[in-house]
Amino acid sequence: MADILVTEALTRRYGSLVAVDRLDLRLVPGERRAVIGPNGAGKTTLLDLVAGAIRPSGGRIRFDGRDITGYGPARRARLGIGRIHQRPAVWPSLTTLDNVAVAAARRRGGVKRSRRPAIELLDRLGLAGHAGVQAERLSHGQRRQLEIAMALAGEPRLLLLDEPAAGLSAVEFERLGTVLRDLPDGVTVLLVEHRLDLVYALADVVTVLRDGQYVVTGTPDEIRVSHAVRQAYSGAVA
C-alpha cells in the first residue's frame, strides 16, 4: 500500500536555529503515529509544515503520492488534511453549531447542508447541548472538543493533532480517546502529544524527535524501553 504521507529531508530554519532538520517520515494509510520528544524538538513545527501553515526551508512533502510542498493550507485542507492547533482555534463569534457547520462547508457543499451532520458530530463529542451557544463562552476543554469536531467535519484522510489532550478534564479525556479510537480505519493520524498514556493507548508507531532531528521510531513498547529515547529526554550529550 502506498504511503499516505512522505517527508523527504524536510527542513525548517529560523535564522541560525534549525527547528526541523532533514526529517524523513513515512506514514501508511490508517496508521496512528505519535511524535514525541522534549521541548524544542520541532514537533509543532513539523505539524505546521505538513499542514501548510509555514513553508519549509528545504525538502519535500508528499501526500498520497502528490507533491504538496508548494500548496497552501486551504488547498491541503481540501485534499483531506485536517488539523487541530495547540491552542484551540475556534470562531468565537459564531455559535458552536455554526463553527462545525462552517468547518464542514467546503466538504459538504455549503453551510446549510452541513448543519445536520454538524449536530451529529457535536453529539459524539458531548457538545450538542451547547449547539446554540456562542463559542466564546465555551470552556477551554469544550473549545478543544469543538475544534476536534471541526477537524473531523472536514472528513480528513490525514488528521494532525497537536497536543489534543492538553487541559482536558478526565471525562473529556475519556471522550477524546473514544473519538480517536472510533475514527474510520482509513484515517491516518499524526499526533503530537506529551501525555504518554494517550500515546500508548492510541499509537501504533511512535517517532521520537530531539532538537529537530530524528532519533528513533518503534512501537510504543519498544520506545518505552529504548535507551536512545531516554538519552533524548535526559539531554545527555550525544
Partner: protein
C-alpha cells in the same frame, strides 16, 4: 549638465527629511505597537517653532532647535500619557484617539499662528544659491542634506550598536519579549513616544524650509511617512531609508519628469510595490 540634477538633489533632501520623520513612526509602531496619527502634528510643532523663532541670524538656530524639539518631545510624552488606558494592539482606538488629538492640536496651532502657510527665515549666510556644476542650488538644502545624513548615520548606529537599540530591534521582532524582560510597558511607551516626538520635532525645525508649517502640513507629513513605513517595512533602518529616498525622489523628480501625472506617481508606485509583495506572498505563504 543633467537638467535633473537639481530635482534629484531635492529628492535626496526630501527623502532624508522623510526618513527622520518616518523613523519616529517606525519606532512608535514597531516597538510600542502604537499607530500614531498625530505624528504629523509633532512635525508641525517643530516647523512652527522654527518659523516663529528663526529671524535670519545664527543665534536663532539653536534656539529654534531646542524650542522645537522640547515642545514636540513634551507633546509626544503627553500623547503617551493619554494613550495609557488604551490596550496595546488596539489600533483602531489608537487611530481614533490620535486622530482626534491631531485635529485638536492642528486647530490650536492654527489659532496660535494663523491659517496661512508661514515662511521660514533661514540664516542669511545660507539663504543664497551655491554653484553646483553650473546650476544654482540653495545652500541651505545642501547643508540640510549633510546634517540629515549625520542624523541618519547616528540613528543607524544607535539602533545597531547600543543596548537600547538592541532592545528596540528585539521588541520589533517579538513584542511579547519586551514584557518578559521585565521592562515596564508604560516606560517603554513614554520613552518611545518621547523619542519619536523628538525626531519629528527635529525634522520639523530643520526641514521647515523644505516642508513648511501650515494648516495642511501635519496631514501631508503623516501621509508621506505612512507610505514610507508601509513600503520600507519595520525590519531595518536601511529599508526605511531606501523607502524614504524613493518617496522623496518620486515627489521631486517625478514632478519634474511627468508634471501632469506626478500626483498619481507616488500612489501608483505604492500600488506596484504592494502588489509585487502580495504576489510574493502568494508563493511564500506563512502565518504569524
Amino acid at each position: 549638465m543633467d537638467p535633473y540634477l537639481i530635482p534629484a538633489l531635492d529628492g535626496v533632501a526630501y527623502g532624508l527629511l522623510l526618513f527622520v520623520v518616518a523613523a519616529g513612526l517606525v519606532l512608535s509602531f514597531g516597538v510600542a505597537g502604537i499607530l500614531n496619527l498625530a505624528h504629523g502634528t509633532l512635525y508641525a510643532i517643530g516647523a512652527y517653532m522654527a518659523a516663529w523663532l528663526a529671524d535670519g541670524g545664527w543665534a536663532a538656530v539653536p534656539l529654534a532647535l531646542v524650542a522645537g524639539v522640547v515642545a514636540s518631545t513634551a507633546a509626544g510624552t503627553a500623547l503617551a500619557g493619554l494613550l495609557t488606558p488604551v490596550k496595546r494592539g488596539d489600533h483602531l482606538t489608537q487611530a481614533l484617539l490620535t486622530f482626534g488629538l491631531a485635529l485638536a492640536g492642528g486647530s490650536l496651532l492654527v489659532s496660535a499662528f494663523g491659517p496661512e502657510d508661514l515662511p521660514v527665515r533661514v540664516p542669511a549666510a545660507l539663504d543664497r544659491p551655491i554653484d553646483l556644476a553650473g546650476h544654482p542650488y540653495a545652500a541651505y538644502r545642501l547643508v540640510f542634506i549633510v546634517v540629515a545624513l549625520v542624523i541618519a548615520v547616528g540613528l543607524y548606529l544607535a539602533v545597531t550598536r547600543t543596548r537600547a537599540g538592541m532592545l528596540v530591534r528585539a521588541a520589533v521582532d517579538d513584542p511579547q519579549m519586551v514584557a518578559c524582560l521585565g521592562v515596564d510597558p508604560t516606560r517603554v511607551r513614554v520613552g518611545v513616544l518621547a523619542v519619536s516626538g523628538a525626531l519629528a520635532g527635529l525634522a520639523g525645525v530643520l526641514g521647515a524650509p523644505i516642508i513648511g508649517p501650515g494648516p495642511s502640513t501635519a496631514a501631508t507629513v503623516l501621509l508621506l511617512s505612512l507610505v514610507v513605513v508601509v513600503l520600507g517595512g519595520l525590519n531595518s533602518v536601511g529599508g526605511t531609508l531606501l523607502a524614504a529616498l524613493a518617496v522623496g525622489e518620486i515627489q521631486t523628480i517625478g514632478v519634474a519628469l511627468l508634471p501632469t501625472t506626478a500626483p498619481f506617481l507616488l500612489y501608483a508606485a505604492m500600488a506596484l510595490i504592494l502588489a509585487a509583495r502580495a504576489r510574493g506572498l502568494l508563493r511564500r505563504w506563512s502565518t504569524a
